[in-house]
């Protein structure tokens, strides 16, 4: 028991907050309460320093020069790839493709799949809770190839209807692309079951892990997704960075996405041969500084300990749900049994935009609107929600400020 107590108190949030300079900002004369982590997370000083250090001391293009700085930059860039591979326990570093973000990674797979594996009569399965970035690329792929887009429905709690998913799985399905955690409702989907069911029919699975990677420890060799995409900026790294993980088998099967430098072996006007993994999918000069700083962000998380982070975030989420439930007239959009990160709600008939603006006046940053999940909003027949999304640097005092802020705004608006 003593050991458990030690772990429970191991995350020193006040000390951690010192690592994030922006958390000490004032907004409208009040201390910032940043609860928009689902949109983007703040950056620890080490990440900011890593990015600056690259430009200050070894800025140079990668994989090209024989000169010293290019070697240093290449080593740091490839080291970052190695760190990411270790973080998600990929079998090989070449299974890590650096991208611009989750959207870029999903577009890569959807585009390459559409050019080689989709034809009329085929289908693609997504879910009703997907972010637009895991809907539109597949709609484009289906339009281009004559394939059909099928959607796993959700129940009123915002959970996937797994029996309906099983019914959709037939031989026409060429890929299942679902989110691990809902960006709007925080639902954690049973991705292990989804992968097992799809693999039983030899169907590959892409996981949108944009809202999972920063909250849940992921082992791709145990979970066995064929593709997994996430964004660097949602895991305390720089904007414009991201990762697409793919199994060697699938990445070799897919044709290249974009053409250009670095992704080729030889180019003649008659025929170009492509570079090997991962470079086949990294055309042009990448975001070198960003990738290196993403590596630093992941190392930072590893030092803090993802298990401790997860434990604190679960405690904070349970506390937030408990306290928010005391607000008269609150209605949660999505109330899944397994959840992480985001809480969407409405209070009485108050427009989310009005609530967001009055919270902002109190220094509290939340997201309002449809959260790039318009089909989901249509299902619940609402224009949008107010979304508070938590990170491990948030405190119970900040949750209290949110609750007090909502009550104050409600009394002004009703």
């Amino acid at each position: 028991m003593e050991q458990i107590a030690n772990i429970a108190t191991a995350l020193d949030v006040e000390r951690i907050r010192k690592d994030f300079p922006i958390l000490h900002t004032q907004v409208h004369g009040k201390p910032l309460v940043y609860l928009d982590n689902g949109a983007t997370t703040q950056k620890p000083q080490v990440v900011i320093d890593a990015e600056a250090n690259y430009y200050e001391t070894y800025n140079s293009n990668v994989h090209r020069g024989v000169h010293h700085l290019s070697q240093v930059a290449t080593n740091a860039y490839e080291q970052a790839r190695h760190i990411v591979a270790g973080f998600i326990n990929a079998a090989h570093s070449h299974e890590i493709i650096f991208t611009k973000g989750t959207t870029d990674g999903i577009n890569l797979v959807a585009n390459a799949m559409s050019r080689r594996f989709l034809k009329p009569g085929d289908s693609v399965i997504i879910s009703a809770m997907e972010h637009h970035s895991n809907i539109v690329p597949w709609q484009i792929a289906c339009e281009d190839t004559g394939a059909t887009l099928k959607v796993i429905p959700i129940n009123e709690l915002g959970e996937l209807q797994m029996d309906a998913f099983e019914a959709l799985l037939d031989d026409s399905v060429k890929i299942v692309a679902v989110t691990y955690v809902s960006n709007t409702m925080g639902t954690i989907n049973p991705v292990e079951d989804i992968i097992k069911l799809a693999h039983a029919r030899n169907i590959p699975v892409l996981l949108d892990a944009a809202q999972a990677i920063q909250h849940i420890s992921i082992d791709v060799q145990a979970l066995k997704p064929d593709f997994l995409a996430f964004s660097g900026h949602k895991i305390y790294g720089p904007t414009g960075t991201g990762v697409l993980y793919g199994t060697t088998e699938w990445l070799n099967k897919l044709p290249p996405y974009q053409g250009g430098g670095d992704m080729i072996k030889t180019v003649t006007f008659a025929k170009t041969t492509y570079n090997e993994l991962p470079y086949k999918f990294e055309a042009g000069t990448p975001n070198i500084a960003g990738a290196i700083a993403l590596g630093t962000a992941i190392e930072y998380l590893q030092q803090v300990g993802l298990d401790k982070i997860q434990q604190w975030e679960e405690e904070l989420l349970a506390y937030a749900l408990q306290e928010l439930r005391t607000i008269e007239g609150i209605r949660f959009i999505g109330d899944a049994a397994h959840r992480s990160g985001a809480i969407s709600f409405l209070v009485h008939n108050i427009h989310p935009f009005d609530m967001g603006e009055l919270l902002d006046q109190q220094g509290i940053a939340v997201r309002t609107g449809h959260h790039c999940t318009e089909p989901l909003m249509d299902q619940f027949q609402i224009p949008g929600t107010v979304r508070a999304s938590l990170s491990f640097y948030n405190t119970k005092e900040e949750v209290d400020k949110l609750v007090a802020g909502i009550k104050r705004a409600t009394s002004m608006l009703l």
Binding site: I350, H351, F353, G369, M412
Partner: protein
Amino acid sequence: MTIKEIQEEIISDFSMMGNWEDKYEYIIHLGKELPLIDEAHKTPDNLIKGCQSRVWLHTELNDGKLYFTADSDAVITKGLVSLMIYVLSGHTPKDIAAADIFFIEAIGLSSHLSPTRSNGLLSMLKQMKLYAIAYQAKINQQ
């Protein structure tokens, strides 16, 4: 009063409000008081869709002057819509088309006019001016 004078009056009223609560309570009050647009005019043609909140705007020309009625699904937006109507409604198309709208910024709500906010207010102002220009062109033809 001219469009400029009405704006100066609003700015003067707001300058007496000490804190953000007073300011917003006043705007929310205006939003709740705004005479609703005739339901018949709440048509898709009159809808100005923003990313966050929606605004409906109806325009009528009467005795050479333009009159606006409007509605929004968000009450703060509606309050600002109400102020915008108070400033611009009942003036000639020529004056409206030429009007410099400065009160929103002066009362510290310029974020409502930033394109990133996409709440319909900026689009509404543009639409009001477009109507004014169109009616002005029509009057000139007569």
